[in-house]
């Protein structure tokens, strides 16, 4: 009897310890932060890229995939910098916490404060070209660029519920760091972790065959001041779960904030919505966590 009690209590203790370990694990599992939405937040596993169907629909999906991964080649007239969709949406736009296309697709149409109208998915993607790709003209909603990207996103969302905020959508929302983001500390992080791919001048690196292998993070060939990634908090959320490339989650939250601040402290193409002075544009569009106009 005593032995039985002993065994049971040991087991109980082990279960408690295990549960505690699990809880601790969750604390550093940044993906779980998103569960703030409450229990039952659904996740989604996209189909394999090997399983894109044959036929005309599959062809459109494949074209979308090309646009997504080689945007400079397949959507050239609409790209005003040296970025590609896949630079901010890793793993062909399929990774959780990397603003995956499968999580975005089912959330449109929706009302967006950014332009104060109901946006279709096509509108939203056109917005990406306007800001993140710094394009001077938007790809037509009915053209193959948008249609391809829509087909690709739709395909990747196969089986996902519509109108549901899926776990892993967008980028992780980090809590404000104990120390305010600091660009000098950020530079130290940059020099240690980022410089090999993005270079000292932040302009990325070009391959032996002339293609932009790593994207520019600031300057005229990067995303403009209207893109989501210019916000320190968005960039920090992207960085922590996706950078350094192939080594996610190795930076601390503080380091992610600091390096995001450093990267976004440099100048970049102006916000295309800016009509008058920087000051006016800052007042109207940039009353958030960003460095708009601090370079001037």
């Amino acid at each position: 009897m005593i032995a039985k009690i002993l065994i049971l209590s040991t087991l109980n203790l082990l279960v408690c310890l295990y549960a505690k370990a699990q809880k601790l694990d969750k604390k550093i599992d940044y993906q779980l932060e998103l569960n703030a939405a409450g229990k039952g937040a659904k996740t989604h596993s996209p189909p394999s890229l090997r399983d894109i169907p044959k036929g005309p629909f599959g062809d459109m999906v494949r074209l979308g995939h090309k646009v997504f991964t080689e945007t400079d080649k397949y959507a050239a007239p609409y790209v005003g910098n040296k970025m590609k969709c896949v630079n901010c949406h890793l793993n062909h736009g399929l990774n959780a916490n990397s603003a995956p296309m499968w999580a975005a697709y089912g959330l449109y149409p929706t009302y967006r404060k950014k332009n104060a109208k109901v946006n279709s998915f096509a509108d939203r993607v056109q917005g990406c070209f306007k800001y993140s790709m710094n394009g001077t003209k938007e790809p037509p909603a009915n053209g193959d660029v948008i249609k391809g990207l829509m087909a690709y996103s739709f395909w990747s969302a196969k089986g996902a519920p519509a109108g549901v905020k899926l776990n892993g959508r967008g980028y992780i929302k980090l809590k404000k760091p104990p120390l305010g983001p600091n660009k000098n500390r950020g530079k130290v992080i940059y020099d240690k972790h980022c410089v090999f791919c993005h270079a000292e001048d932040g302009q990325g690196r070009v391959s032996a065959t002339g293609e932009q292998a790593f994207p520019p993070l600031w300057g005229e060939n990067s995303f403009n001041w209207g893109a989501g990634m210019h916000r320190i908090n968005t960039a920090a959320g992207f960085i922590i779960a996706n950078m350094p490339f192939g080594q996610p989650n190795i930076l601390t939250e503080q380091e992610a904030w600091d390096v995001a601040k450093y990267i976004n402290s440099y100048d970049r193409p102006k916000d295309p919505r800016q009509k008058g002075s920087i000051k006016e544009a800052k007042e109207k569009f940039h009353k958030h966590d960003c460095e708009y106009g601090s370079q001037n």
Partner: protein
């Protein structure tokens, strides 16, 4: 006198090889901002390297994994040689460390200059027929990655078709598959750890034997 029949071609071959090296040293000198410190020493060193790395640095196929070093970037060759010298990179047999031990930092610079300026010729392949399925599997890993295991595509860092991204990401296209496989296994086991910011280790540990084989074969098969 019959021995002459054997000796003469060998001498001829050796002198030809020396001639090639001499011409190459001249070409490299013309390209270099500073002339090699000691041309004679460079020639000697080049001949030593080429004993294993083949004529004109094209490497040798085989289990030992003698890589093609011709036309790799100056910075890359220099770093590898310095790392061997400083024991930051160790090869299983310890051959490179002992070879590099006697080299000065200037010798290393000259050698890096020499081999980085050699033409990018195709290697000789032992087995010219590749298994189609292995190639397809390797192509997928190199081009698309195995993200389900957290393995990004080789091309993401080593450039389109793995022709390299200067100065830190070497060309893998047309490299000997034996060498590539050996390096992936070395990162995996921890023998090799001189990759910048440990970039390769987390990738290599996620690849299994057949994936390492397939990706190495595919990378070797990429033409210029």
């Amino acid at each position: 006198m019959r021995w002459l029949i054997y000796i003469l071609p060998i001498c001829l071959l050796l002198s030809c090889k020396k001639q090639v090296v001499t011409t190459n040293v001249k070409k490299v000198e013309a390209l270099s901002k500073k002339s090699p410190l000691n041309k004679e020493r460079l020639k000697e060193n080049v001949l030593t390297c080429e004993t294993c790395h083949g004529v004109e640095g094209l490497g040798e196929a085989g289990q030992e994994g003698f890589p093609k070093i011709a036309n790799l970037r100056f910075e890359y060759i220099e770093k590898q040689l310095l790392d061997f010298k400083n024991k930051l990179r160790v090869d299983t047999e310890g051959v490179m460390s002992s070879m590099v031990e006697a080299l000065s930092v200037d010798d290393i610079k000259d050698l890096a200059l020499y081999f980085s300026n050699l033409p990018n010729k195709e290697i000789k392949r032992i087995d010219k027929k590749y298994d189609e399925n292995v190639l397809l599997q390797g192509k997928w890993i190199a081009e698309m990655g195995l993200w389900e295991k957290g393995v990004p595509a080789c091309f993401k860092c080593h450039g389109a078709n793995a022709h390299g991204v200067a100065p830190f990401f070497p060309r893998l296209a047309g490299q000997h598959s034996d060498y590539i496989a050996k390096q992936l296994n070395s990162w995996k086991s921890g023998i090799r750890r001189n990759d910048i910011n440990s970039m390769m280790k987390p990738i290599a540990v996620k690849l299994n034997e057949s994936e390492i084989h397939a990706v190495s074969i595919y990378l070797e098969s990429i033409r210029m």
